[in-house]
């Protein structure tokens, strides 16, 4: 069994993001970068499948600038076996990324591709679906699990995705409940927030990660067209939140919601 996990370098979700005055991007000075939190959950899930499910090779893949090595090292320190960095300094859109991943999947031939359902920087929520389409593989999106994150199963590090008989059973979060589906392997699965609580890299893990393989592939070597079909015109910060107002009774609140806010 081989599991390919995607890892994106994104700004720290706890950082305050400021938009450049000309609206062309965000201010990146002194910005701290981390592994996309959804991808961290994907790595954790892959490691659990490996540990509790009779072994697997966990291969990480990132696409981006050379500095994304840092995030791959983090994943290796968590316990992944090796990593691939497709070096691309230019901007990419989800389709470009999916095309690159398609190539890597063809080279690596994994049984399962685990991805975050979206990256917290541009929140596109497209790459997993596009990759499955390009590969013509089955897909299961928004993998979650029945047990809560406070449950014993979670404390014992049990995986939420069940792998058996060449199939993956995935619990999905849908409106108003959970849906369980089964997909034949190989497949693409994207993960949601409530699948697991990722481990942190232990010190022995960090030390071991230094010796693990991290292969770099220049994007040009893949021989595909990754010119973005999507162009960001302008970024704007959200409007500043106005101060709230105190009301004296529920009646007044309902009245204002109806007449002023016009939401009910």
């Amino acid at each position: 069994m081989k599991i390919l996990v995607t890892v994106k370098r994104v700004p720290d979700p706890n950082a305050t993001i400021r938009v450049k005055p000309d609206g062309t991007g965000i201010v990146t000075d002194n910005l701290k970068y981390v592994v996309n939190p959804f991808d961290e959950i994907a790595i954790e899930e892959a490691l659990r499948i490996k540990e509790k499910g009779g072994g697997a090779e966990v291969v990480l893949v990132s696409i981006g600038a050379k500095v994304a090595q840092e995030q791959l090292r983090t994943g290796l320190a968590m316990g992944a076996d090796r990593a691939i960095l497709v070096v691309a300094e230019q901007d990419l859109d989800p389709l470009g990324v999916a095309r690159i991943l398609q190539k890597i999947v063809e080279q690596e031939k994994p049984d399962l591709v685990l991805m975050g359902k979206q990256a917290i920087d541009d929140d596109a929520n497209q790459t997993g679906q596009m990759l499955a389409a390009l590969l013509q593989w089955p897909q299961a999106t928004f993998a979650s699990k029945k047990e809560s994150l406070e449950s014993e199963a979670e404390k014992n590090g049990l995986p939420g995705i069940q792998m058996a008989n060449g199939k993956a059973q995935v619990v999905r979060e849908v409106d108003g409940g959970l849906e369980t589906i089964e997909v034949p392997l190989p497949a693409v699965v994207t993960v949601d927030l409530r699948l697991n609580i990722p481990r942190y890299a232990s010190l022995p893990g960090i030390m071991k990660a230094r010796k693990k393989e991290l292969k770099e592939i220049p994007v040009a070597e893949l021989g595909i067209d990754v010119t973005p079909k999507l162009r960001v015109l302008r970024l704007e910060p959200p409007p500043k939140r106005k101060a709230g107002r105190k009301v004296s009774s529920v009646q007044e609140l309902v009245h204002l919601l109806h007449t002023e806010a016009k939401v009910i």
Binding site: N14, A15, K32, E70, R73, T74, A77, Y200, A201, S202, L203, P204, G205, I206, M207, A209, R210
Partner: protein, 580 residues
């Protein structure tokens, strides 16, 4: 970002103020790997950040739970035991110990960061981890290979913990009064005596400072004739050693850290280093422990500051958040600047410790005639570190007392409640000016070091460093130089007149010296942001006045001041209180 346990000041300092390639070269490693090394340190500190964050959450409600003595065994509260287990699983123990014995060989600076973070999360737990690291470090340096193999792997893995047993009922600040004795019998060593106030006294590995029986009478009352004895709770054959914890104290703070009385009744031990030379070895442990306590004090201070800042932003009085009150804003600003200054001083010292150690190890292997330059640097570094260590301990812990008290004040009445986190931080902070040598002892040590010439070595360094900052900060550089030359040097003649007058002013002088070193270090950071530039500026403004005032106070008096104090206190030294 400042809410991160892996503080911005740490990140910045390790990226900008340390010559990692130089350090690696001295260690016989490739200087090109500096970037990768730093990457590893950052990864480790990120893990520490996450673990500390969760420890802080888990332990905050359990602060009051006391360590206890149950059936002769020391029992720590659950949050301490669980927290320790979490650190153990993450591998966050004994970071500086060599990988040969199961550690990670990390720089002292990185461990200093870690201890600060851990103290901010849980100060009681930090004492246990700090001692374990210190004890392992002393064994690594002074133990025979056999001793190292026997004790280090279990300390680094966390199976065993350590303690440092110095204090006795009649030997606190004055370790020369130690009467616990170590006796040699047919090549084996046995310890008899009583130690008190021993942190984690239920540990498996005790480093005991004891007086050699053979020279007991001759050396009594001095720090010669002391040996550092490793006394294990269990002997190599698995039997229990003849020692026991007789009491676990109840305290005003640091409740989760067991403070024990330990009795040795002919317990077998193993001498570290040479018999009778134990004080030297213990000083090594104490020096790193002092910087450890400085880190602890900073961690607790930072926790209190963050709490106060958050509270002041949301507490409304007079229709506005209290942070808008000039007096409240001023308290918070002083807290912030002082923490930054103490941090700057501590990190600077910790980085010097790393360089000193690297040169020392390098020279130990290098041919003796060559390397004259390094040999010289080593000599200077020794002097500076010997001086800065007590200054760091003094300053960081006093600052911490002040910051935590102000944090209570910012909270008003709610800060005085037993359940208040800031009340807890204040109680935890107070011990830091007492153990590992009280503030008065630190100031006296620093004075002794200064009188041996280290003050001038430090000034030479500061003044030449200020030259490099002259281009960017002409006015500030000029002022620092003036403070050194005119005010501090200008005060020395008055101090030299009588050693008792010098002692009377030891804290004052210590603070003056600390202020200039911290000012220079803050100036190095001034280009980080506007806030940093203003903080450096404000520190210099405030402390220039304080230094000038200190100098005037020193210059205006002499040793007769002490006899005036006797009169103020109404003490007649001919009939001491003890005689009545």
């Amino acid at each position: 970002m400042s809410e991160a346990f892996f503080h911005e000041d740490m990140r910045w300092f390790m990226q900008n103020r340390v010559d990692w390639p130089g350090l690696l070269r001295l260690q016989g490693r490739a200087p090109e790997s500096a970037a990768e090394e730093k990457g590893t340190y950052v990864a480790i500190l990120e893990t520490a950040d996450q673990v500390c964050r969760s420890l802080a959450e888990q332990s905050r409600q359990h602060w009051h739970e006391e360590a206890e003595l149950v059936d002769g065994e020391v029992k720590v509260p659950p949050h301490i035991a669980q927290g320790y287990e979490q650190l153990r699983q993450a591998g966050l123990l004994c970071l500086p110990i060599s990988p040969t014995y199961g550690g990670y060989g990390l720089p002292f600076l990185i461990n200093t960061f870690y201890l600060e973070m851990l103290a901010r999360a849980n100060s009681s737990l930090m004492t246990i981890v700090g001692l374990q690291t210190g004890v392992a470090g002393d064994i690594e340096r002074y133990g025979s290979e056999e001793i190292k193999q026997r004790y280090l792997p279990k300390l680094t893995s966390g199976e065993w913990q350590g303690s440092m047993d110095l204090t006795e009922p009649n030997a606190g600040s004055d370790l020369g009064s130690i009467v616990t004795r170590v006796t040699e019998e047919q090549g084996r060593f046995f310890v008899d005596g009583e130690k008190i106030f021993i942190t984690n006294g239920g540990s498996q590995v005790h480093l005991v400072l004891a007086r050699d029986a053979a020279t007991f009478q001759k050396t009594r009352g001095t720090t010669t004739g002391l040996s550092l004895v490793l006394v294990p709770a269990f002997l190599p054959d698995g039997t229990r050693n003849r020692m026991r914890v007789t009491k676990v104290e109840r305290k005003m703070g640091l409740h989760g850290s067991p403070t024990c009385a330990v009795e040795f009744d002919h317990a077998e031990g193993f001498i570290l280093g040479r018999p009778g030379q134990g004080f030297r070895a213990m000083l090594d442990l104490m020096n790193s422990a002092r910087l450890g306590v400085a880190a602890q004090a900073l961690g607790v201070g930072e926790a209190a500051f963050q709490e106060a800042l958050a509270y002041a932003k949301q507490r409304i009085q007079f229709d506005a958040p209290i942070i808008q009150q000039p007096l409240v804003k001023s308290m918070l600003t002083q807290m912030s600047i002082n923490l930054q200054a103490a941090r700057a001083l501590l990190y600077r010292t910790a980085a010097l410790v790393d360089r000193l150690e690297a040169i020392r190890n390098f020279l130990a292997q290098a041919p003796s005639e060559s390397q004259e330059e390094l040999r010289q640097e080593l000599g200077l570094l020794r002097q500076i570190v010997q001086l800065l260590t007590p200054l760091c301990k003094y300053y960081a812990t006093e600052i911490s007392n002040d910051v935590t008290r102000k944090a209570v004040q910012v909270h008003g009445g709610i800060g005085y409640m037993a359940s208040s986190p800031v009340a807890q931080f204040h109680c935890d902070s107070i011990i830091t000016t007492i153990y590992e040598g009280t503030s008065e002892i630190q100031a006296s040590f620093a004075l002794k070091e200064m009188s041996r010439g280290s003050l001038f070595t430090l000034f030479d360094q500061i003044v030449s460093e200020v030259q490099t900052l002259r281009g960017a900060y002409p006015e500030e550089s000029q002022r620092i130089e003036e403070l050194v030359e005119k005010w501090i040097r200008g005060s020395l003649p008055s101090l030299l007149a009588d050693p008792r007058y010098a002692l009377l002013n030891a804290k004052r002088l210590a603070e003056m010296v600390i202020d200039v070193v911290a000012a220079v270090e803050l100036l190095h950071q001034a280009n980080r942001s506007e806030g940093k530039r203003l903080a450096a500026r404000s520190f210099l403004d405030r402390r220039s006045l304080a230094i000038e005032m200190g100098a005037r106070r020193i210059q205006s008096g002499d040793v007769r001041r002490l006899s005036r104090y006797d009169k103020i206190l109404g003490i007649d030294l001919d009939t001491p209180a003890a005689a009545t």
